[in-house]
Symmetry: C2
Subunit: 250 residues, 2 copies
Protein backbone atom coordinates (compact mmCIF):
# COMPACT_ATOMS: atom_id res chain seq x y z
CA UNK A 1 0.00 0.00 0.00
CA UNK A 2 1.31 3.36 -1.05
CA UNK A 3 0.78 6.86 0.26
CA UNK A 4 0.11 9.62 -2.23
CA UNK A 5 3.69 10.86 -2.19
CA UNK A 6 5.03 7.35 -2.74
CA UNK A 7 2.67 6.89 -5.65
CA UNK A 8 3.68 10.24 -7.08
CA UNK A 9 7.37 9.37 -6.73
CA UNK A 10 6.76 6.04 -8.45
CA UNK A 11 5.39 7.81 -11.49
CA UNK A 12 7.73 10.77 -11.26
CA UNK A 13 5.06 13.41 -10.75
CA UNK A 14 4.10 15.81 -7.98
CA UNK A 15 1.54 15.05 -5.29
CA UNK A 16 -0.50 17.96 -6.55
CA UNK A 17 -0.61 16.34 -9.97
CA UNK A 18 -2.07 13.14 -8.55
CA UNK A 19 -4.74 15.08 -6.70
CA UNK A 20 -5.49 17.03 -9.85
CA UNK A 21 -6.06 13.80 -11.76
CA UNK A 22 -8.50 12.74 -9.07
CA UNK A 23 -10.33 16.04 -9.42
CA UNK A 24 -10.76 15.73 -13.14
CA UNK A 25 -11.68 12.06 -12.87
CA UNK A 26 -8.67 10.79 -14.77
CA UNK A 27 -7.49 8.62 -11.88
CA UNK A 28 -10.13 7.11 -9.57
CA UNK A 29 -10.13 8.15 -5.92
CA UNK A 30 -8.74 5.27 -3.81
CA UNK A 31 -9.85 4.06 -0.40
CA UNK A 32 -8.94 6.11 2.65
CA UNK A 33 -7.26 4.82 5.80
CA UNK A 34 -8.46 5.56 9.35
CA UNK A 35 -7.13 9.12 9.31
CA UNK A 36 -8.52 9.94 5.90
CA UNK A 37 -5.26 9.45 4.00
CA UNK A 38 -5.49 8.05 0.49
CA UNK A 39 -4.07 4.52 0.12
CA UNK A 40 -3.05 3.25 -3.29
CA UNK A 41 -2.53 -0.22 -4.70
CA UNK A 42 -0.33 -1.28 -7.58
CA UNK A 43 -3.17 -0.77 -10.03
CA UNK A 44 -3.09 2.96 -9.33
CA UNK A 45 0.64 3.08 -10.01
CA UNK A 46 0.15 1.38 -13.36
CA UNK A 47 -2.73 3.65 -14.27
CA UNK A 48 -0.80 6.74 -13.31
CA UNK A 49 2.25 5.74 -15.30
CA UNK A 50 0.12 5.05 -18.35
CA UNK A 51 -1.49 8.46 -17.97
CA UNK A 52 1.87 10.18 -17.69
CA UNK A 53 3.20 8.37 -20.72
CA UNK A 54 0.52 10.04 -22.77
CA UNK A 55 0.71 13.37 -20.96
CA UNK A 56 4.47 13.47 -21.47
CA UNK A 57 3.84 13.12 -25.17
CA UNK A 58 1.71 16.25 -25.17
CA UNK A 59 -1.70 14.58 -25.14
CA UNK A 60 -4.23 16.93 -23.50
CA UNK A 61 -5.52 15.50 -20.22
CA UNK A 62 -9.08 15.67 -21.47
CA UNK A 63 -8.30 13.17 -24.23
CA UNK A 64 -6.19 10.72 -22.25
CA UNK A 65 -9.03 8.77 -20.71
CA UNK A 66 -10.59 8.03 -24.09
CA UNK A 67 -7.20 7.09 -25.49
CA UNK A 68 -6.50 4.58 -22.73
CA UNK A 69 -9.62 2.67 -23.69
CA UNK A 70 -9.47 3.17 -27.45
CA UNK A 71 -9.16 0.45 -30.02
CA UNK A 72 -6.07 0.60 -32.23
CA UNK A 73 -7.88 2.31 -35.12
CA UNK A 74 -9.35 5.09 -33.02
CA UNK A 75 -6.09 5.32 -31.15
CA UNK A 76 -4.14 5.89 -34.32
CA UNK A 77 -6.61 8.49 -35.53
CA UNK A 78 -6.48 10.38 -32.26
CA UNK A 79 -2.70 10.31 -32.29
CA UNK A 80 -2.61 11.73 -35.80
CA UNK A 81 -5.02 14.38 -34.73
CA UNK A 82 -2.99 15.41 -31.69
CA UNK A 83 0.19 15.39 -33.67
CA UNK A 84 -1.34 17.78 -36.18
CA UNK A 85 -2.35 20.06 -33.34
CA UNK A 86 1.20 20.06 -32.03
CA UNK A 87 2.51 20.84 -35.49
CA UNK A 88 0.11 23.77 -35.70
CA UNK A 89 1.40 25.19 -32.45
CA UNK A 90 4.98 24.81 -33.57
CA UNK A 91 4.21 26.67 -36.78
CA UNK A 92 2.62 29.45 -34.78
CA UNK A 93 5.67 29.81 -32.56
CA UNK A 94 7.99 29.69 -35.56
CA UNK A 95 5.98 32.51 -37.10
CA UNK A 96 6.46 34.49 -33.90
CA UNK A 97 10.20 33.96 -34.08
CA UNK A 98 10.29 35.21 -37.64
CA UNK A 99 8.47 38.37 -36.70
CA UNK A 100 10.45 38.96 -33.56
CA UNK A 101 13.68 38.75 -35.49
CA UNK A 102 12.48 41.67 -37.61
CA UNK A 103 11.85 43.98 -34.69
CA UNK A 104 15.10 45.88 -34.76
CA UNK A 105 14.95 48.65 -32.21
CA UNK A 106 12.19 50.55 -30.51
CA UNK A 107 12.28 53.30 -33.09
CA UNK A 108 11.70 51.13 -36.10
CA UNK A 109 9.37 49.05 -34.02
CA UNK A 110 6.55 48.99 -36.48
CA UNK A 111 8.18 50.43 -39.51
CA UNK A 112 10.17 49.16 -42.47
CA UNK A 113 13.56 50.74 -43.06
CA UNK A 114 12.33 52.94 -45.91
CA UNK A 115 10.03 54.77 -43.56
CA UNK A 116 12.70 55.05 -40.91
CA UNK A 117 14.85 56.64 -43.62
CA UNK A 118 12.17 59.24 -44.31
CA UNK A 119 11.94 60.08 -40.61
CA UNK A 120 15.72 60.34 -40.41
CA UNK A 121 15.69 62.81 -43.31
CA UNK A 122 13.22 64.98 -41.43
CA UNK A 123 15.37 64.91 -38.31
CA UNK A 124 18.35 65.78 -40.46
CA UNK A 125 16.56 68.87 -41.77
CA UNK A 126 16.06 70.02 -38.19
CA UNK A 127 12.39 69.14 -37.88
CA UNK A 128 11.38 68.85 -34.22
CA UNK A 129 11.16 65.47 -32.51
CA UNK A 130 7.53 66.09 -31.68
CA UNK A 131 6.69 66.59 -35.32
CA UNK A 132 8.73 63.59 -36.40
CA UNK A 133 6.94 61.46 -33.85
CA UNK A 134 3.64 62.59 -35.31
CA UNK A 135 4.91 61.70 -38.76
CA UNK A 136 5.91 58.29 -37.50
CA UNK A 137 2.45 57.79 -36.05
CA UNK A 138 0.85 58.71 -39.33
CA UNK A 139 2.87 56.00 -41.05
CA UNK A 140 1.85 53.51 -38.40
CA UNK A 141 -1.79 54.33 -39.01
CA UNK A 142 -1.42 54.23 -42.77
CA UNK A 143 0.21 50.82 -42.58
CA UNK A 144 -2.60 49.52 -40.41
CA UNK A 145 -5.44 50.93 -42.44
CA UNK A 146 -4.14 50.79 -45.99
CA UNK A 147 -0.86 48.87 -46.25
CA UNK A 148 -0.93 48.72 -50.03
CA UNK A 149 -0.77 52.50 -50.28
CA UNK A 150 2.46 52.71 -48.29
CA UNK A 151 5.06 52.27 -51.08
CA UNK A 152 3.52 54.98 -53.27
CA UNK A 153 3.32 57.35 -50.34
CA UNK A 154 6.95 56.78 -49.50
CA UNK A 155 7.93 57.70 -53.03
CA UNK A 156 5.78 60.85 -52.96
CA UNK A 157 7.18 61.82 -49.59
CA UNK A 158 10.76 61.43 -50.65
CA UNK A 159 10.10 63.40 -53.83
CA UNK A 160 8.49 66.25 -51.92
CA UNK A 161 11.38 66.33 -49.47
CA UNK A 162 13.65 67.10 -52.40
CA UNK A 163 11.95 70.49 -52.67
CA UNK A 164 13.20 73.27 -50.38
CA UNK A 165 9.68 74.66 -50.04
CA UNK A 166 8.48 71.47 -48.35
CA UNK A 167 11.25 71.66 -45.80
CA UNK A 168 10.68 75.36 -45.24
CA UNK A 169 7.03 74.66 -44.43
CA UNK A 170 7.92 71.84 -42.03
CA UNK A 171 10.27 74.15 -40.16
CA UNK A 172 7.80 77.02 -40.25
CA UNK A 173 5.16 74.79 -38.70
CA UNK A 174 7.60 73.89 -35.98
CA UNK A 175 8.07 77.61 -35.29
CA UNK A 176 4.32 78.02 -35.04
CA UNK A 177 3.87 75.32 -32.46
CA UNK A 178 3.45 77.71 -29.55
CA UNK A 179 1.82 80.60 -31.37
CA UNK A 180 -1.58 81.82 -30.40
CA UNK A 181 -4.17 80.50 -32.88
CA UNK A 182 -5.10 84.11 -33.70
CA UNK A 183 -1.53 85.08 -34.48
CA UNK A 184 -1.67 86.98 -37.83
CA UNK A 185 1.53 85.25 -38.98
CA UNK A 186 -0.54 82.05 -39.22
CA UNK A 187 -2.50 83.50 -42.15
CA UNK A 188 0.63 83.72 -44.30
CA UNK A 189 1.66 80.21 -43.29
CA UNK A 190 -1.73 78.79 -44.11
CA UNK A 191 -1.72 80.50 -47.49
CA UNK A 192 1.68 79.01 -48.26
CA UNK A 193 0.65 75.56 -47.14
CA UNK A 194 -2.54 75.70 -49.14
CA UNK A 195 -0.52 76.61 -52.20
CA UNK A 196 1.78 73.66 -51.47
CA UNK A 197 -1.23 71.38 -51.19
CA UNK A 198 -2.59 72.55 -54.52
CA UNK A 199 0.78 72.00 -56.13
CA UNK A 200 0.96 68.49 -54.69
CA UNK A 201 -2.65 67.61 -55.26
CA UNK A 202 -3.02 63.88 -55.12
CA UNK A 203 -6.12 61.75 -55.03
CA UNK A 204 -6.95 61.81 -51.33
CA UNK A 205 -7.45 58.17 -50.68
CA UNK A 206 -6.95 56.58 -47.29
CA UNK A 207 -9.38 59.02 -45.77
CA UNK A 208 -9.74 57.04 -42.57
CA UNK A 209 -6.07 57.27 -41.74
CA UNK A 210 -5.99 60.88 -42.96
CA UNK A 211 -8.65 61.88 -40.48
CA UNK A 212 -6.90 60.15 -37.63
CA UNK A 213 -3.57 61.70 -38.49
CA UNK A 214 -5.10 65.16 -38.76
CA UNK A 215 -6.85 64.94 -35.43
CA UNK A 216 -3.66 63.66 -33.88
CA UNK A 217 -1.66 66.64 -35.17
CA UNK A 218 -4.42 69.06 -34.24
CA UNK A 219 -4.34 67.80 -30.66
CA UNK A 220 -0.67 68.61 -30.34
CA UNK A 221 -0.95 72.41 -30.52
CA UNK A 222 -3.78 75.00 -30.83
CA UNK A 223 -2.03 76.81 -33.66
CA UNK A 224 -1.68 73.55 -35.57
CA UNK A 225 -5.32 72.86 -34.96
CA UNK A 226 -6.21 76.09 -36.69
CA UNK A 227 -3.94 75.26 -39.60
CA UNK A 228 -5.56 71.86 -40.02
CA UNK A 229 -9.07 73.26 -39.87
CA UNK A 230 -8.43 76.07 -42.31
CA UNK A 231 -6.70 73.83 -44.80
CA UNK A 232 -9.54 71.34 -44.58
CA UNK A 233 -12.07 74.12 -45.21
CA UNK A 234 -10.23 75.38 -48.24
CA UNK A 235 -9.84 71.91 -49.69
CA UNK A 236 -13.52 71.32 -49.06
CA UNK A 237 -14.44 74.52 -50.92
CA UNK A 238 -12.18 73.59 -53.79
CA UNK A 239 -13.79 70.18 -54.18
CA UNK A 240 -17.30 71.68 -53.97
CA UNK A 241 -16.37 74.22 -56.61
CA UNK A 242 -14.97 71.40 -58.64
CA UNK A 243 -18.21 69.53 -58.37
CA UNK A 244 -20.13 72.66 -59.41
CA UNK A 245 -17.87 73.11 -62.39
CA UNK A 246 -18.41 69.53 -63.38
CA UNK A 247 -22.16 69.93 -63.03
CA UNK A 248 -22.14 73.14 -65.06
CA UNK A 249 -20.16 71.39 -67.74
CA UNK A 250 -22.80 68.69 -68.10
Amino acid sequence: MLTISQLAATAGVSVRTVRHYHQVGLLPEPERDASGYRRYGAQAAVDLIRIRTLADAGVPLARIDALLHARPTEFARAITDIDAELARKIDQLAEYRKRIAQLDSGESLVLPTEIVAVLDRLLGFGVSELRVRLERDSWILLRALDPDAVPARIREKNASLDEPETIRLFLACDQAVDWDPRDPRLDRLIDDMDAWEIAHERDSKGQASLKLVSSRIAEAAPAWQRIIIELANRAENRSRTGVRQVLRGL
Copy 2:
Protein backbone atom coordinates in the same frame (compact mmCIF):
# COMPACT_ATOMS: atom_id res chain seq x y z
CA MET B 1 -13.20 60.33 -32.30
CA LEU B 2 -13.54 56.59 -32.40
CA THR B 3 -15.79 54.16 -30.61
CA ILE B 4 -14.24 51.05 -29.13
CA SER B 5 -15.29 48.85 -32.03
CA GLN B 6 -13.87 51.30 -34.55
CA LEU B 7 -10.62 51.41 -32.66
CA ALA B 8 -10.53 47.62 -32.50
CA ALA B 9 -11.22 47.36 -36.23
CA THR B 10 -8.45 49.86 -36.95
CA ALA B 11 -5.94 47.65 -35.19
CA GLY B 12 -7.50 44.40 -36.33
CA VAL B 13 -8.36 43.08 -32.86
CA SER B 14 -11.54 42.27 -30.97
CA VAL B 15 -13.37 44.70 -28.71
CA ARG B 16 -12.74 42.32 -25.83
CA THR B 17 -9.03 42.57 -26.49
CA VAL B 18 -9.09 46.35 -26.18
CA ARG B 19 -10.97 46.15 -22.91
CA HIS B 20 -8.54 43.53 -21.68
CA TYR B 21 -5.63 45.87 -22.39
CA HIS B 22 -7.38 48.54 -20.34
CA GLN B 23 -7.80 46.08 -17.49
CA VAL B 24 -4.15 45.15 -17.38
CA GLY B 25 -3.08 48.75 -17.79
CA LEU B 26 -1.43 48.27 -21.14
CA LEU B 27 -3.63 50.83 -22.88
CA PRO B 28 -4.86 53.82 -20.82
CA GLU B 29 -8.59 54.22 -20.27
CA PRO B 30 -9.86 57.06 -22.50
CA GLU B 31 -12.44 59.74 -21.71
CA ARG B 32 -16.08 58.76 -21.68
CA ASP B 33 -18.89 60.51 -23.53
CA ALA B 34 -22.21 61.52 -21.97
CA SER B 35 -23.56 57.97 -21.95
CA GLY B 36 -20.40 56.43 -20.55
CA TYR B 37 -19.06 55.15 -23.86
CA ARG B 38 -15.31 55.18 -24.34
CA ARG B 39 -14.07 57.69 -26.92
CA TYR B 40 -10.66 57.27 -28.50
CA GLY B 41 -8.32 59.64 -30.28
CA ALA B 42 -5.69 58.86 -32.85
CA GLN B 43 -3.07 58.40 -30.15
CA ALA B 44 -4.93 55.35 -28.87
CA ALA B 45 -4.97 53.85 -32.34
CA VAL B 46 -1.23 54.29 -32.66
CA ASP B 47 -0.62 52.85 -29.20
CA LEU B 48 -2.83 49.87 -29.88
CA ILE B 49 -1.17 49.09 -33.19
CA ARG B 50 2.25 49.25 -31.57
CA ILE B 51 1.07 46.89 -28.85
CA ARG B 52 -0.31 44.44 -31.38
CA THR B 53 2.85 44.51 -33.41
CA LEU B 54 4.70 43.15 -30.40
CA ALA B 55 1.92 40.82 -29.31
CA ASP B 56 1.71 39.37 -32.82
CA ALA B 57 5.38 38.54 -32.54
CA GLY B 58 4.76 36.46 -29.44
CA VAL B 59 5.83 39.00 -26.85
CA PRO B 60 3.98 38.34 -23.57
CA LEU B 61 1.60 41.18 -22.71
CA ALA B 62 3.33 41.70 -19.39
CA ARG B 63 6.56 42.66 -21.13
CA ILE B 64 5.15 44.86 -23.87
CA ASP B 65 4.83 48.02 -21.82
CA ALA B 66 8.47 47.92 -20.81
CA LEU B 67 9.50 47.18 -24.37
CA LEU B 68 7.63 50.17 -25.77
CA HIS B 69 9.67 52.48 -23.56
CA ALA B 70 12.97 50.64 -23.72
CA ARG B 71 16.20 52.01 -25.10
CA PRO B 72 17.65 50.09 -28.06
CA THR B 73 20.11 48.14 -25.91
CA GLU B 74 17.54 46.90 -23.45
CA PHE B 75 15.14 46.36 -26.30
CA ALA B 76 17.57 44.09 -28.11
CA ARG B 77 18.31 42.15 -24.94
CA ALA B 78 14.63 41.64 -24.21
CA ILE B 79 14.02 40.49 -27.76
CA THR B 80 16.82 37.95 -27.55
CA ASP B 81 15.40 36.75 -24.28
CA ILE B 82 11.89 36.32 -25.64
CA ASP B 83 13.17 34.61 -28.73
CA ALA B 84 15.02 32.10 -26.58
CA GLU B 85 11.84 31.45 -24.67
CA LEU B 86 9.98 30.80 -27.91
CA ALA B 87 12.73 28.45 -29.04
CA ARG B 88 12.42 26.57 -25.76
CA LYS B 89 8.71 26.09 -26.27
CA ILE B 90 9.25 24.88 -29.81
CA ASP B 91 11.78 22.33 -28.59
CA GLN B 92 9.32 21.12 -26.00
CA LEU B 93 6.60 20.64 -28.60
CA ALA B 94 9.02 18.93 -30.96
CA GLU B 95 9.92 16.54 -28.16
CA TYR B 96 6.21 15.82 -27.71
CA ARG B 97 5.89 15.03 -31.40
CA LYS B 98 8.80 12.61 -31.23
CA ARG B 99 7.23 10.75 -28.33
CA ILE B 100 3.79 10.74 -29.82
CA ALA B 101 5.10 9.20 -33.00
CA GLN B 102 6.37 6.27 -30.94
CA LEU B 103 3.02 5.49 -29.36
CA ASP B 104 1.93 2.79 -31.75
CA SER B 105 -1.27 1.28 -30.44
CA GLY B 106 -2.95 1.07 -27.09
CA GLU B 107 -1.32 -2.25 -26.30
CA SER B 108 2.24 -1.16 -26.72
CA LEU B 109 1.28 2.13 -25.16
CA VAL B 110 4.07 2.25 -22.67
CA LEU B 111 6.22 -0.59 -23.83
CA PRO B 112 9.04 -1.13 -26.28
CA THR B 113 8.56 -3.81 -28.90
CA GLU B 114 10.76 -6.34 -27.11
CA ILE B 115 8.37 -6.42 -24.19
CA VAL B 116 5.37 -6.59 -26.47
CA ALA B 117 7.06 -9.63 -28.03
CA VAL B 118 7.34 -11.30 -24.64
CA LEU B 119 3.66 -10.69 -23.97
CA ASP B 120 2.77 -12.06 -27.38
CA ARG B 121 4.72 -15.22 -26.62
CA LEU B 122 2.69 -15.70 -23.45
CA LEU B 123 -0.56 -15.25 -25.34
CA GLY B 124 0.71 -17.72 -27.91
CA PHE B 125 1.25 -20.32 -25.22
CA GLY B 126 -2.36 -19.95 -24.16
CA VAL B 127 -1.79 -17.87 -21.03
CA SER B 128 -4.96 -16.01 -20.03
CA GLU B 129 -5.49 -12.39 -20.94
CA LEU B 130 -5.84 -11.47 -17.28
CA ARG B 131 -2.44 -12.91 -16.50
CA VAL B 132 -0.84 -11.31 -19.52
CA ARG B 133 -2.29 -7.97 -18.47
CA LEU B 134 -0.71 -8.42 -15.06
CA GLU B 135 2.58 -9.24 -16.74
CA ARG B 136 2.29 -6.11 -18.81
CA ASP B 137 1.67 -4.06 -15.69
CA SER B 138 4.71 -5.51 -14.03
CA TRP B 139 6.81 -4.35 -16.98
CA ILE B 140 5.29 -0.93 -16.76
CA LEU B 141 6.21 -0.71 -13.11
CA LEU B 142 9.70 -2.02 -13.68
CA ARG B 143 10.29 0.51 -16.41
CA ALA B 144 9.12 3.31 -14.14
CA LEU B 145 11.08 2.27 -11.08
CA ASP B 146 14.24 0.75 -12.51
CA PRO B 147 14.49 1.32 -16.26
CA ASP B 148 18.11 0.17 -16.42
CA ALA B 149 17.16 -3.30 -15.24
CA VAL B 150 14.71 -3.83 -18.09
CA PRO B 151 17.00 -5.24 -20.81
CA ALA B 152 18.49 -7.90 -18.50
CA ARG B 153 15.04 -8.91 -17.34
CA ILE B 154 13.84 -9.26 -20.89
CA ARG B 155 16.69 -11.64 -21.65
CA GLU B 156 16.00 -13.69 -18.51
CA LYS B 157 12.32 -13.82 -19.31
CA ASN B 158 12.84 -15.00 -22.85
CA ALA B 159 15.31 -17.63 -21.67
CA SER B 160 12.90 -18.96 -19.07
CA LEU B 161 10.10 -19.09 -21.62
CA ASP B 162 12.24 -21.52 -23.62
CA GLU B 163 11.72 -24.06 -20.83
CA PRO B 164 8.52 -26.12 -20.90
CA GLU B 165 8.33 -26.10 -17.10
CA THR B 166 7.94 -22.33 -17.04
CA ILE B 167 5.04 -22.48 -19.43
CA ARG B 168 3.46 -25.37 -17.56
CA LEU B 169 3.51 -23.31 -14.37
CA PHE B 170 1.99 -20.28 -16.08
CA LEU B 171 -0.86 -22.41 -17.37
CA ALA B 172 -1.27 -24.17 -14.05
CA CYS B 173 -1.60 -20.84 -12.30
CA ASP B 174 -4.27 -19.88 -14.78
CA GLN B 175 -6.13 -23.06 -13.88
CA ALA B 176 -5.88 -22.14 -10.21
CA VAL B 177 -7.40 -18.72 -10.64
CA ASP B 178 -10.81 -19.70 -9.25
CA TRP B 179 -9.72 -22.37 -6.80
CA ASP B 180 -10.44 -22.05 -3.14
CA PRO B 181 -7.29 -20.90 -1.30
CA ARG B 182 -7.49 -24.07 0.81
CA ASP B 183 -7.66 -26.33 -2.21
CA PRO B 184 -5.08 -29.11 -1.59
CA ARG B 185 -3.96 -29.00 -5.22
CA LEU B 186 -2.42 -25.61 -4.42
CA ASP B 187 0.21 -27.29 -2.20
CA ARG B 188 1.64 -29.22 -5.16
CA LEU B 189 1.61 -26.09 -7.31
CA ILE B 190 3.37 -24.02 -4.67
CA ASP B 191 6.02 -26.73 -4.25
CA ASP B 192 6.64 -26.74 -7.99
CA MET B 193 6.83 -22.97 -8.17
CA ASP B 194 9.19 -22.77 -5.24
CA ALA B 195 11.44 -25.29 -6.95
CA TRP B 196 11.28 -23.16 -10.09
CA GLU B 197 12.23 -20.07 -8.10
CA ILE B 198 15.20 -21.84 -6.56
CA ALA B 199 16.33 -22.99 -9.99
CA HIS B 200 16.04 -19.46 -11.35
CA GLU B 201 17.40 -17.71 -8.30
CA ARG B 202 18.53 -14.28 -9.35
CA ASP B 203 19.64 -11.35 -7.26
CA SER B 204 16.31 -9.89 -6.22
CA LYS B 205 16.90 -6.27 -7.03
CA GLY B 206 14.13 -3.87 -7.88
CA GLN B 207 12.34 -4.77 -4.69
CA ALA B 208 10.02 -1.78 -4.88
CA SER B 209 8.57 -2.86 -8.19
CA LEU B 210 8.57 -6.52 -7.05
CA LYS B 211 6.36 -5.67 -4.09
CA LEU B 212 3.94 -3.71 -6.20
CA VAL B 213 3.71 -6.45 -8.77
CA SER B 214 3.13 -9.10 -6.15
CA SER B 215 0.37 -7.18 -4.46
CA ARG B 216 -1.22 -6.53 -7.82
CA ILE B 217 -1.25 -10.25 -8.67
CA ALA B 218 -2.42 -11.16 -5.19
CA GLU B 219 -5.41 -8.83 -5.54
CA ALA B 220 -6.57 -10.62 -8.67
CA ALA B 221 -7.53 -13.95 -7.06
CA PRO B 222 -7.57 -15.41 -3.53
CA ALA B 223 -5.75 -18.56 -4.65
CA TRP B 224 -3.03 -16.46 -6.22
CA GLN B 225 -2.78 -14.48 -3.03
CA ARG B 226 -2.01 -17.66 -1.13
CA ILE B 227 0.61 -18.64 -3.67
CA ILE B 228 2.30 -15.27 -3.39
CA ILE B 229 2.30 -15.34 0.41
CA GLU B 230 3.61 -18.87 0.68
CA LEU B 231 6.36 -18.30 -1.83
CA ALA B 232 7.37 -15.11 -0.05
CA ASN B 233 7.52 -17.00 3.26
CA ARG B 234 9.70 -19.73 1.86
CA ALA B 235 12.03 -17.26 0.20
CA GLU B 236 12.21 -15.37 3.49
CA ASN B 237 13.15 -18.57 5.35
CA ARG B 238 15.76 -19.42 2.79
CA SER B 239 17.42 -16.02 3.10
CA ARG B 240 17.31 -16.13 6.91
CA THR B 241 18.88 -19.59 6.79
CA GLY B 242 21.42 -18.17 4.40
CA VAL B 243 22.22 -15.40 6.83
CA ARG B 244 22.57 -17.92 9.65
CA GLN B 245 24.88 -20.00 7.55
CA VAL B 246 26.96 -16.95 6.77
CA LEU B 247 27.08 -15.99 10.44
CA ARG B 248 28.01 -19.53 11.43
CA GLY B 249 30.79 -19.42 8.84
CA LEU B 250 32.30 -16.31 10.42
